[in-house]
Amino acid sequence: MPSESLSSLGPALRTHGLRMRYGQGTGLVNALDGVELEVARGETLAVMGPSGSGKSTLLHLLGGLERPSEGEVWLAGRRIDGLGEKALARLRRQAVGFVFQAFHLMDELTAEENVELPALLAGMSPRAARRRAGELLDRVGLAGRAGHLPSALSGGERQRVAVARALSNEPLVVLADEPTGNLDSAATADVLRLLDSLRETGQTLVIVTHDARVAAIADRLISMRDGSFVEETRLTRGGGRLSELAGLEG
């Protein structure tokens, strides 16, 4: 689990008065407008909302890929909105795993080379990184595809490789931006099953999605509009959900 420097108490993520503006003058866009959020450790949060409502922006701020115009972001009990790029990079290495809609795999690297990359960037030995990549690919059900290039994998398989890569450094949180946005329903079901299994192991997850079926695996669902939260629903765990998932494949 994450290194000692990160507190093991309190929420995994917290924001206060988070605002993000792009452009200026008449072109000014309030992408985020005073967002208050708390994500507990081990919680799975789904964020839904129409296009342009600020979901990706929120995710980027949570992962320290961008810095907010105003407000606070706390990751593992540490305030990160004022950190320098270098400190942010270190933090991402330890505490954050990203999954993108467009997969963003390095297309000249095989599945296993993609998965081991974050570990190599974090200074793990090549041998240990390779072993860990093998385990993770096994976990996402792609042990047999380790040597394939992304171009030889299906969309669903690519996204599962991306999830394995996000887990490479055992991050505190996994931030997924429309992980099924580019997938058909069979592939969506594969990825969903994988995310659900992560949830069950206690991985903290924030998933941005358009897809109600994806949102259904979450503990909590937040709806956004024009940069603000408009609705929050706590989902109950029911026996119906997995069977519902199974129904996707039919």
Partner: protein
């Protein structure tokens, strides 16, 4: 007609969309065309002053000199030399004149000079034309002009000649000898007194003595072989300066009925071994004068070809770097009904337009600079005029520019035109090459090298272009250094006129470096643009901005280092090919400085975009682009 207009409009709009890139293209191509213009303008420049000097001095067609006649210490037996005067084909002659070697001391310079005795009356053949002062008198010497300039004396100055005081009576030009320090009368032979080159003009054949000079103790030879100037004195002074009978030799100047037949005449009268008779044709002397100019021209021609290659590499990189962006435009054009031909034509038209402007700019710049490099040959009269810009020169320069642009654009244009519309609109990047071994090796390296090597390996063709560009540049620089090293290794006392070559070499080196910088900017621009997404991704995965910057720099510096090492070998090889004398390898510190310079310049050039890249929020590049 409408179609051509459409192509031109589209091409123009595309150029305007990217002024910086158009400027880079223009710069790269102009450097090449300007250098070629200069090189072509200097072609044959020395010919004119030599011919006017020949006319003004009744220049000889053949100069025959004779040392140690009869291989004895007896006073000269001139029969062999005098027989030449009545040989068939000889129309007139002057001499034989006695000469010896004497040491000249003036202005702190000490140098040997061939000292020729002349009468007061004008000679029928080879009467040196005074450019300063008067003709020889007892105690008054006349110095050949290039020699006088090199040691910095004028008419009226006092010099020491063979240990005696002389007054400089005058300074004169002649068409009967090479310029200082290559003056060479018998005894004078290959590799020491002068160069010979089989491809250019008839080779100079020099009798090679089977044994050493017959006279004088070893520590005081009658003649020294090597560099020297030319001085005229009275016959009495010349004889007086000869320390022993064996150190006196004779020269005769011949006019032939057919000057063009001089080389044949020389071949026919080349003596048997043992004899120290040494005939030289005027064409050889012209070659000696032309050599300085020819060096310049070789340097410039070689330089312009290298600059052309660099321009080719720059354009190829620019075009390649634009492919992703271009592909989308190609898709758009095709989606609205443009044919593949139209698409290719638009791309070609843009680059050809830039090439035409570059040709014009290069011709103009070259025309302005050429006269500065074509000062009159030293030791000759008349101005060396590069002459007006001829149609063939303009044509050749324009052809170079168009050719470079065409070759660099043609393949990408065809490829772009052939790309399927759907693929182009989807903006799928070309599938990258994968070098498995490099990926495996780089996994063991520090993060910046890991990233840098993988980036460099993603686009092997561009890496090769980068390596090639640096290799060509360093080849040019090292060849220039090697030439320079040799020039200084055998530099003659005083102001060696051949050091004028230094200017040209510096010019070529400066142009090469400028061009290489343009090329590096192109490569770095393309690489940084392309690495935007993968560097953002690396940051999302935990690489620090510092590691990203260092990685982007490493991706350029490593190929540059390889190119620089290749270039050192290439440069020494090129100097070897261009020069018939053995090359001098430039000193190690110079070679190290070149390699280090390359690395520092490339690292410096990369640092700026790499830093800018690292400063932008990583999220931006990862937002929308589909994989």
């Amino acid at each position: 007609m409408g179609r051509i207009l459409l192509i031109c409009r589209l091409a123009l709009r595309d150029l305007r969309r990217r002024p910086g890139e158009a400027a880079l293209l223009l710069l790269a191509t102009t450097a090449a065309t300007a250098t070629l213009t200069i090189a072509l303008a200097l072609n044959g420049v020395t010919g004119q002053p030599f011919q006017s000097t020949r006319a003004a001095t009744a220049g000889p067609d053949v100069v025959a000199s004779l040392a140690w006649p009869g291989q004895s210490e007896d006073p000269a037996d001139l029969a062999g030399l005098e027989a030449l005067a009545s040989a068939p084909g000889v129309a007139a002659h002057s001499g034989p004149y006695p000469y010896t070697q004497a040491v000249v001391e003036a202005n702190g310079v000490t140098v040997r000079a061939w000292t020729q005795g002349r009468g007061a009356e004008a000679a029928a053949v080879d009467q040196p034309a005074l450019v300063e002062g008067g003709w020889v008198a007892d105690g008054g010497a006349v110095l050949e002009a290039s020699f006088a300039q090199a040691i910095g004396v004028d008419a009226g100055d006092a010099i020491t000649l063979g240990g005696r005081s002389f007054r400089v009576a005058g300074v004169a030009v002649t068409a009967a000898a090479d310029p200082y320090p290559k003056v060479c009368l018998a005894p004078c032979w290959f590799g020491v007194g002068a160069e010979s080159r089989a491809e250019n003009g008839p080779p100079r054949t020099r009798p090679r003595p089977e044994r050493g000079p017959p006279s004088g103790p070893p520590e005081e030879p009658s003649f020294w072989i090597g560099q020297g100037g030319l001085v005229w004195v009275t016959e009495a002074d010349a004889r007086g300066l000869a320390t022993r009978p064996g150190s006196l030799a004779y020269v005769m100047n011949l006019k032939l009925t057919d000057p063009a037949a001089a080389p044949a005449f020389v071949r026919a009268h080349m003596p048997e071994a043992e004899s120290m008779l040494f005939p030289v044709a005027w064409q050889d002397i012209l070659y000696g004068h032309a050599r300085v100019a020819e060096w310049k021209q070789t340097a410039l021609l070689g330089g312009s070809w290298m600059l052309g290659l660099l321009a080719l590499a720059s354009i190829a990189v620019l075009v390649g770097g634009r492919m992703a962006d271009q592909l989308r435009r190609v898709g758009l054009l095709k989606a609205v009904g443009g044919t593949p031909g139209l698409v290719a034509a638009v791309l070609l038209a843009q680059h050809l337009a830039v090439a035409l402007v570059a040709a014009a700019a290069g011709l103009l710049a070259g025309r302005l600079v050429a006269p500065l490099l074509a000062e009159p040959g030293i030791g000759l009269i008349g101005r060396a005029d590069p002459g007006p810009l001829t149609l063939p020169v303009a044509g050749l320069v324009t052809a170079l520019a168009l050719g470079v642009a065409g070759v660099a654009t043609f393949l990408p244009a065809v490829r772009a035109a052939r790309t399927s519309t759907v693929r182009a609109l989807a903006d799928l990047p070309r599938p990258p090459r994968r070098a498995g071994w490099l990926i495996a090796v780089s996994a063991r390296l520090p993060v910046p090298l890991l990233l840098g090597l993988r980036w460099a390996a993603r686009r092997p063709r561009r890496a090769v272009l980068g390596v090639a560009a640096i290799a060509v540049t360093v080849t040019g620089i090292v060849a220039a250094l090697a030439t320079d090293a040799r020039r200084y290794a055998e530099k003659a006392p005083g102001d060696d006129p051949r050091t004028a070559l230094g200017q040209v070499l510096s010019l070529v080196v400066v142009m090469l470096v400028a061009q290489a910088v343009v090329n590096a900017v192109c490569v770095i621009w393309a690489a940084t643009l392309e690495a935007r997404r993968s560097s953002a991704l690396a940051r999302a995965l935990g690489a620090t901005p510092g590691q990203i910057s260092a990685g982007l720099s490493a991706a350029q510096v490593l190929p540059a280092l390889g190119g620089a090492l290749l270039g050192i070998a290439g440069g020494i090889g090129l100097a070897e090919i261009l020069d018939d004398d053995p090359v001098a390898v430039p000193p190690l510190w110079q070679l190290l400085a070149v390699v280090l310079g390359c690395v520092v310049v490339i690292a410096g050039l990369t640092a700026v975009p790499a830093r800018l890249n690292a400063r932008r929020p990583a999220g931006e590049a990862l937002r929308t682009e589909p994989a």
